[in-house]
Every structure is written in C-alpha cells, then in structure tokens.
C-alpha cells in the first residue's frame, strides 16, 4: 500500500494558482490553454509528480489530466538508456535476467519495419 504523501506548501500554492486561473470569469479557453502550457512547462519533474498526487487527492480533474499528460510526454519515444540516465537508475539485472526480460518484451519492437513480399 503506497500512502499518498501529504501536500506540501509549495505544491499547494501552485495548485491554487492553477485553480485561480481556471475559475476566472473573463479568462477565455485560449488564455487558459496558454496559461496551462507555461504553467506546466517550467515545472521541475519532482514538482510535476507532487502536483499529480495533489490533484488526484483533491480530485481536480483538469489539472490532474494535464499533469499526467505532461509527465507522459516527457517519457515518450525514449530509449531504455535514456530512462536509466534520466532517472539515475542503476540496472541491477544480471546479464541472464537482462536477456530474459528483453525476450519478454521483444514483441513490442516487432513490426516496426513492415515485411514487404
């Protein structure tokens, strides 16, 4: 069971900023979108994750989906090496395990080049 972390002050402040913008009467959809882009663009990774948890905890649908998408965008089309480097992960797999796991996932890379007759 992974407990939800309590929301710290910094994250809460950001969530409030988001909510303020999105509940403004005179803010157009265009303006809101622009705000979202700038708001999320500059966020550090750690803050993004906190924001996701906070938005989920507070049940703020819009912010939650935006942040999740942003996190996902950052991971798209990245190689295994990139993941390890970016997340500072040491792979503790033994070489046999590595071979085994690569085989397990090999299908995901199949079909990249189509077979012409």
């Amino acid at each position: 069971m992974i407990p939800l972390p309590l929301i710290d002050g910094r994250t809460l402040a950001r969530v409030i900023t988001y909510l303020n913008k999105h509940t403004e009467d005179d803010a157009s959809d265009e303006a809101k979108r622009k705000f979202d882009e700038e708001f999320l663009y500059g966020m550090e990774v750690g803050v993004l994750y906190d924001a996701a948890l906070a938005a989920n905890y507070l049940d703020i649908g819009g912010l939650f989906h935006e942040v999740c998408q942003r996190i996902a965008d950052g991971m798209m089309n990245k190689s295994v090496e990139w993941v390890r480097k970016t997340f500072h992960i040491e792979s503790e797999f033994t070489s046999e395990e590595e071979v085994q796991i690569k085989k397990e996932y090999a299908w995901a890379w199949e079909g990249v080049d189509s077979n012409a007759d």
Partner: protein
C-alpha cells in the same frame, strides 16, 4: 527537465492508478522501455492496470469485454500482445471470385478473431436489420492462455464440419493480402507468434533430397535432423503444387469438431444478461476444447512416428511423391521424392500457415487488382465518415421502390453490399459506390464494379420520382448529386454507364435513380458486426475453397445446400 535526486522513486511512489493513467498515453514500446530499465520499474510496469489501459486504448472491443476475456489469459499484458498482433487483420477482405461477391469480415470473436464470409443472399424475412444475415466461418484465431495465437481454418467435407489447425506466421501492420500457405514449421511451442523475415534470408542454401523407394527402411535415428528454414517458399511454387500441398496438409491435419463446440464462435447479440452468460459459458468450453486439440495435434490419423504409411499417393510435380507422413505436435513431415519442386529437409514438419503481407497492389476505383492464382484474400480499405466524406463506409442496398421488407406477395429482394469511397479526379471530388456483394442468382457486372459514381459538387436537376415510401411517409430530399450509374457495356468485363442521380433522403437513406430506366437502388448504413451476431450460420465449402474461391463463376456457389437440415433450399439463396 533534469531531475535531481529521486531517480525512479518518483514513478515508484505513484499509486498504480495514476501510474497506469500516465502510461496509457505512452506507446507500448515506451512502456516496455520503462520496464527494461530496472527491477522496480519492471515490477510496476507488469501490473495488470497498466496493460488494461493499453488494451482499452486499442478500441477493438469494449472495456467490459476485455474484463471478461481477462479470465481466459494469464495477464492483460498477454491479452494486449495478442490484440496488437491481430489488430491489422480486422476489417473487410474480398476476393474476385465468385463474381457475385466474396466478402470475409474479420471481427473480434471470443478471445479470438473470426473471419466470417457473408454469402450472396436475399434480404431476410425480418428485413435489413434483423435478416437474419447468412454467413459461414472461414477462419479463426484464438488467443491462448499466454497470449499466443492458434489459427484454425474452417471447412466442410463429406457433410461434416472440420477445423484445420495451423499457425499464424506473421501479420504486417499495413497488410493488404491474407495468404493461406503451407510452410515448414520449426519445433517450438505450438502457436507462438513469430515475426520472421522473408524465407530467403533464413535459408543458407536450398537443400534437395532425393528419396527412392529403397529409403523406406531408414529408421528415425538415421534421419538427418532438418536445418532451420531450408526449402523454397510456398509462394514460389507452381499453382498446381500449391493446391496439392494445401489439399494434402488439410486432409491430414483436420480435426472433427463435436457438435457442442460447433454452435457459437462469438456471443450472440442479445439484450438480456442471462442468455449472454450462457453464450459466454459455451464459448469458454469451446475455446478450451479447441486449444487442447491444437496442442495435442489430434487428428483422424493415429500417430505413426517412424513407421511408413502410404498416404493417398498424390502427385507433386511430375512424380509420385508422398511416401510417409509423420505427425509431430499437429504438424506433418512430408518427405518428397524425385523431381519435386517443393524441397523440404527430412525431419522438417510442415503445416498450414496464415500470413498477412503487404504487397504493392494497383486498384481501380477502390477495388484492388487481384492475382488469380494465389490462395489469398485482399483487404478493402474502409474509410470512416468524416467532414467532406459523410457517406464513406459500408452500405446495404436493394433495388426497387418502395424499399422495405419482402412479404408474401412481393418477391425476395437481392441484398447488395456497397462500399462508398471518395476519389479526387481532375479537380473534382467523386463519390464511388463499389459493389462487393450481390444477392442475385446470376451476376450481371463484375465483382468490384462501381454501381454508380457521382460528383459531389454537382447537385442534380432531377426530381425524386416518388412522393412517398412504403409507409406513405412523405419523401424529404435533403441533397442530390448528379452522376452515372452502371449499365451494360462492352461484354461482361467492361460495363458502361448511363446518367442518374443520387438522392439523400430522410432517415439517412441514399437512393440512386437511373434517369432513363427509373431503376432505383436504395442504400442504408450497415453495422456488419451486429448483423453477424444476429445472423444465421450456414455450411462452409471445403477448406481451401472456403478460404479463397479461385474458380471463375457467375452464379452462387454457396447455394448448394438444399438438402441440409437448415432447410437452405429457401429462396433466400436465389439458386436455380
């Protein structure tokens, strides 16, 4: 975006709901990349929630169906692997023969995909929506517990239904040709999907073996174990050899299907929960039975390993060839003799295989130009309706006005399947209505002809000839287009055309009227999957013909079952 301290703990700290929501946006490859990076990530990436989200994203079946299917597989990841592999097979596949139409619709079944042929027929007594539509199974690909595919061809021989197990060789993402072949199969787990490169690359050299009758004394241990992938690919053999190989293999691998397992291939479209659960229970049983049969390789013949048994000697090439057959896991070793064009190393096992390939095919007005000697089906690209192409897709139609269900005093109406597509030509946008199925008893125009073509920028000057329909409702013409409808031309192969107009009327109906003859073709949208789920299954042809009917014919070859218990001598077949 440089993280500072936490490493993967950021991802790992997320609740799995949130993690699967994030990964839902990722491609399966990216998800697997995460899983490959370290142990902890590997563990959370393996979660069922992650892969349920990925399955759902494919939009092949509703989420409730995924949840039901999960009971038959080890994980959503396994199910995803199956779904992503067979995904390109879904859709409409056609063949030129018989000319009345040969439409095989591949759709989700039950932890499977099923290829259903809709046969040329008249509109059923319950009308368009409830027909019931007549169909016959062509093939089936079942997902086993680990997510691998088990391929079965369907067919009927000597009045009995059989299934013919084989393997799913490969499915190209952009496939447009579905080929039935006989291929050597290496000793590996039954049904495991492999994405193999073209045969020629695997072959070191072509090996030919000459066997004379004196070889019949060779014991199993003396046989040379076959090297991987030697031999000529099936597609390079002559037509006669391919036909004979298919006939030999199907006759050897066929499995008798008990009646209980022969009823349903997919759940019927019903409104109540109770009946649906009954169907599901039957389908689970059937699937288990078929998968067991697949694994065991049971057949009509006893396993005769090592001993020789003269099989119906068949000619392959120019000389008598088949000396002995050896069964290994459902696949049969074929030892070929002198002069044969098919070369298989001794000890190889061969079996039926299904391969979905991508070929460069030309097409004319949305109808692909097909080879006439391949045991193949060809994919029809179906476009979904969108802005500017509102009428794209599959329609069902009948001739005559008013449209409506046939009754006692009115003769049956031939059912037409029309595929509407759009084409740019000389700066104009044309709407093309391609005939892909015709329910008359004798065809007038070739399969794949354009029944009518209209110019979407030219409204018609003609008025709709009738004021009211069969229910005396007033006809409200929303739009009309000018164009041409098919007419007799220079012989069968080259139809002509005569002026006509397409009217869009209320209830989403399209009506094309030939100006001079006042012939009327009325079209309405079809949901083929729903129709098949409410439909009526009829007997198949013999297996190879059931897959690809190569003989040129202008009549209804599927109508020859007048003596069966289904009372198919009904006029719906429009047989003579």
């Amino acid at each position: 975006m440089v993280p500072d301290f936490c490493g993967s703990s950021l991802l790992l700290a997320l609740p799995d709901d949130i993690f699967s929501l994030i990964t839902r946006s990722l491609s399966p490859r990216d998800v697997c990349s995460l899983g490959l990076s370290c142990r902890d990530l590997h563990a959370i990436v393996a979660s069922d929630k992650v892969w349920l989200a990925q399955c759902d994203k494919l939009r092949l079946v509703p989420c409730s169906t995924l949840i039901e299917w999960r009971k038959g597989v080890c994980s959503y990841k396994a199910l995803f692997r199956f779904l992503v592999n067979i995904h390109p097979l879904l859709g409409i596949w056609v063949h030129q023969n018989p000319e009345l139409g040969n439409v095989v619709y591949v759709m989700p079944g039950f932890l499977s995909v099923v290829g259903c042929r809709i046969i040329p027929q008249e509109v059923g007594p319950l009308g368009f929506e409830d027909g019931p539509i007549l169909w016959t199974p062509v093939f089936e690909i079942i997902c086993n517990y680990e997510g691998s595919a088990a391929f079965f061809l369907h067919g009927r021989e000597q009045g009995t239904d059989f299934v013919y197990p084989g393997f799913l060789k490969s499915v190209d993402r952009n496939c447009n040709v579905l080929l039935l072949e006989v291929e050597p199969r290496h000793q590996r787990n039954g049904g495991k999907l492999a994405y193999s490169k073209s045969f020629a690359h695997e072959v070191d050299k072509e090996v030919s073996r000459r066997l004379s009758r004196s070889d019949s004394g060779i014991s199993k241990s003396q046989r040379i174990v076959g090297q991987k992938g030697s031999g000529m690919p099936f597609s390079r053999l002559g037509f006669g050899d391919r036909r004979r190989l298919l006939d030999i293999v199907t006759s050897q691998v066929r499995l008798n299907v008990p009646d209980t397992a022969n009823e349903l291939l997919f759940p019927r479209l019903r409104n109540d929960e109770v009946h649906w659960q009954e169907d599901v229970a039957i389908l689970y049983e059937r699937r288990l039975l078929l998968l067991q049969m697949y694994k065991r390789g049971d057949g009509n013949n006893d396993l005769k390993s090592g001993s020789e048994s003269l099989l119906n000697p068949t000619e392959l090439g120019s000389t008598e060839v088949c000396k002995s057959l050896e069964c290994t896991s459902g696949y049969y070793a074929l030892q070929v003799g002198d002069g044969a064009q098919a070369h298989y190393t001794k000890g190889d096992t061969i079996g039926l295989s299904l391969r979905a390939a991508t070929m460069k095919l030309s097409s004319y007005r949305a109808w692909p130009n097909m080879h006439d000697s391949r045991f193949a089906l060809y994919k029809l690209p179906i476009r979904a309706p969108k802005a500017g192409h509102e009428y794209a897709g599959l329609w069902g139609g009948t001739f005559g006005w008013p449209p409506g269900r046939p009754s006692e005093d009115k003769p049956g109406k031939a059912l037409f399947f029309i595929l509407i597509s759009y084409e740019e030509s000389e700066g104009q946008q044309l709407l093309i209505a391609t005939k892909i199925l015709e329910g008359t008893s004798y065809v007038l125009h070739p399969n794949g002809s354009a029944m009518f073509i209209v110019n979407t920028a030219q409204p018609s000057m003609d008025t709709f000839p009738w004021d009211s329909d069969e229910n005396s409702n007033h006809i409200d013409v929303k739009q009309s287009f000018m164009g041409e409808g098919i007419a007799n031309g220079y012989g069968f192969r080259y139809p002509g055309s005569k002026p006509g107009s397409l009217f869009v009327i209320q209830n989403g109906l399209l009506v094309f009227v030939w100006k001079e003859s006042r012939a009327v073709l009325t079209l309405q949208r079809l949901n083929l999957e729903d129709l098949l789920r409410k439909g009526e299954r009829v007997p198949s042809l013999s297996p190879v013909s059931n897959f690809a009917y190569l003989t040129k014919t202008y009549s209804n070859v599927f109508s020859g079952f007048s003596n069966s218990s289904n009372a198919l001598s009904s006029p719906r077949y429009a047989s003579f």
